[in-house]
Symmetry: C2
Subunit: 412 residues, 2 copies
Amino acid sequence: MEAARKLRIDGERLWASLMALARIGATPKGGVRRVTLTPADREGRELFARWCREAGLELRVDAIGNMFARRNGAERDAPPVVMGSHLDSQPNGGRFDGAYGVMAGLEVLRALNDAGVRTRAPLEVASWTNEEGSRFVPTLMGSGVFTGVYALPEILKNKDTEGITVGEALKSIGYAGEARPHQVGAYFEAHIEQGPVLEDTRTTIGVVQGALGQRWYDVAITGQDAHAGPTPMDLRKDALLAAAELTLEVNRIGNSFPDYARGTVGHMQVKPNSRNVVPGEVRMTVDLRNARDATLLAMKKALTDAIDAIARKRRVSISTDEVVYFPPCEFAPELVGRVRAAAADLGLSHRDIVSGAAHDAVYLSRVAPTAMVFVPCEGGISHNEIENARPEDLAAGCDVLLRAVLATAEAL
Amino acid sequence: MEAARKLRIDGERLWASLMALARIGATPKGGVRRVTLTPADREGRELFARWCREAGLELRVDAIGNMFARRNGAERDAPPVVMGSHLDSQPNGGRFDGAYGVMAGLEVLRALNDAGVRTRAPLEVASWTNEEGSRFVPTLMGSGVFTGVYALPEILKNKDTEGITVGEALKSIGYAGEARPHQVGAYFEAHIEQGPVLEDTRTTIGVVQGALGQRWYDVAITGQDAHAGPTPMDLRKDALLAAAELTLEVNRIGNSFPDYARGTVGHMQVKPNSRNVVPGEVRMTVDLRNARDATLLAMKKALTDAIDAIARKRRVSISTDEVVYFPPCEFAPELVGRVRAAAADLGLSHRDIVSGAAHDAVYLSRVAPTAMVFVPCEGGISHNEIENARPEDLAAGCDVLLRAVLATAEAL
């Protein structure tokens, strides 16, 4: 493996591949509209498939449309080290979210081809179907089916707003395949951070420890409408005042707990929402996240306590409904260690980080040792046509991926 | 005037008149839809006019449709003591808002007729056009034109959402009259409180000191959208968090200043208003009220200071636009004193109170000594079909009006 220490991916080829892919579904503002199982998605898949064939890879498609491009290793039957992400985008998405992980995996295999390196375990690039969930729910559909989180027959029946099912859409683009699920030896996913931490700390590589658990709430506050003029302050039951206190409490919870705590109120609807009427009703959401399940539960308790106190103090009634619980996910320490070591060996600035959002890697981690590599994106912005990343950061992340994958392919 | 001390209005007749009027534009939920210058408004005016003629009153209509029904006094040329309010309603209004003040004035004149009492100064009942402002802006249109706040030619051009002008609407219902503005010796307006204070304190008569001044603001807060998951708490520029702090500050301002201070945030619009996105933009309103102009100005200063501090602390930009300034109005102490004395003489529970909302009396106070009499309304609710008031409270308020008017008619 001494040769491997000098091996580098081709950053220009990686960038050229990303830009060629970004022309498929390109939007006027420089983004991408490549919604899952549409003609644009098919075109993106076809380009990826052609590149895979040109690289001598063996391509398979499974029943939910996941694509697997294999480069055999010395031990043909060893479970493969898989790299991947997704080629579908948000309706007004960017050029890198998902596409980077697939193209980085392809570039790793191309670089190994160029150098004539043979690995012990086989290597694969996976492109998971419908990560975004913007046309068909749920998100993470392809990786969810592959890992058994979702049952295929039910998922194939899900419909978009036009009434088209997942099964019909898969057939219409020619990607209802026949490959059976296979064992995964290890899984790596490279991705833009979709957050501001790396840019803010001038760091090139994020060594991802896992993904935050999430608890989401719908909150309804009921007070009493009243005229703003004739109603003295002490006779009010102001639902918006209670909502404002709760918003600050959620922020306090996000700030005061350890383990990458986040607390967010993103949505608020006020009734009657008239400038001279004391609001009688507010509906709002609360989003709590944490890397540790026990801490997330303690945050939930703090939220419940805050709600009780505010309802008493403001003389309003508050109902709370937990609509999502998603447990935290911890990535495999040995794989995470290889990502960190690769960054260090390459002399790249790096730091431990968590994924605040979900990725296909979260579901893969339920069936195989998993890790992720983050690279910075401009302003932390994604799910937006102005999403941007620097070619040198994308190349650096791909070099880290190459090293971590090579080390894992030998160690499996 | 010894006979006057024993004089009482006829509470049953007052209630019957209110109920007869409430059948015009009656809604299924027990409210009234008698929007200004519509056929229902005409029908209400015609009923009032018929009752005035039956009471031997001399009726005039001015160019903005204000109606004046006069009962002459011993001195024909003395300026009249005017009682009044408005017959138009909100689109989903109640049976008492406005109608009570007009019917109470009529009942005072009927009671004087029955008792054969002759006053020194003439007495009038006024019904002001378009107090509500729900079809044509501005509110308080008729009293505003009468008192010179608005210029008649401009007001006649104002259009409703169908493009019909005030002038056209007045002609279509036959109420573009020719009476010239006349001098007013004094003005009294009886009205339901439209707030909870009298009911909350089990008081029958509100002795109204004046009306609160108002300053209204549009506030726009700009932070930065960010994903709730990947964005750590300390890297956020959360516009909703700033809005929540400002909401609590406005409440603190309302609670901490003297002179009937009120501070209300009634309207809030969040963008993008998605549960897992840190809000980048909030638009909200602030409504400050106070009985003293200097205190209202101090509240404005406190608001500005709070906004500056919040913008710095939360790293957001906040723009503020004052969209309404309405100075406080203080009623005439001698008239207010007669209202208080009347309530005391009649053995009615009473308390000093301010009007949090504007009334025609506010404009009348700019041209004549003015006072108001408040009576309780159920739950403090108005501008709503469920608006309600008790017959005995309405009768009590009318008896107070009778006494205060009689005393004033002799003193002018």
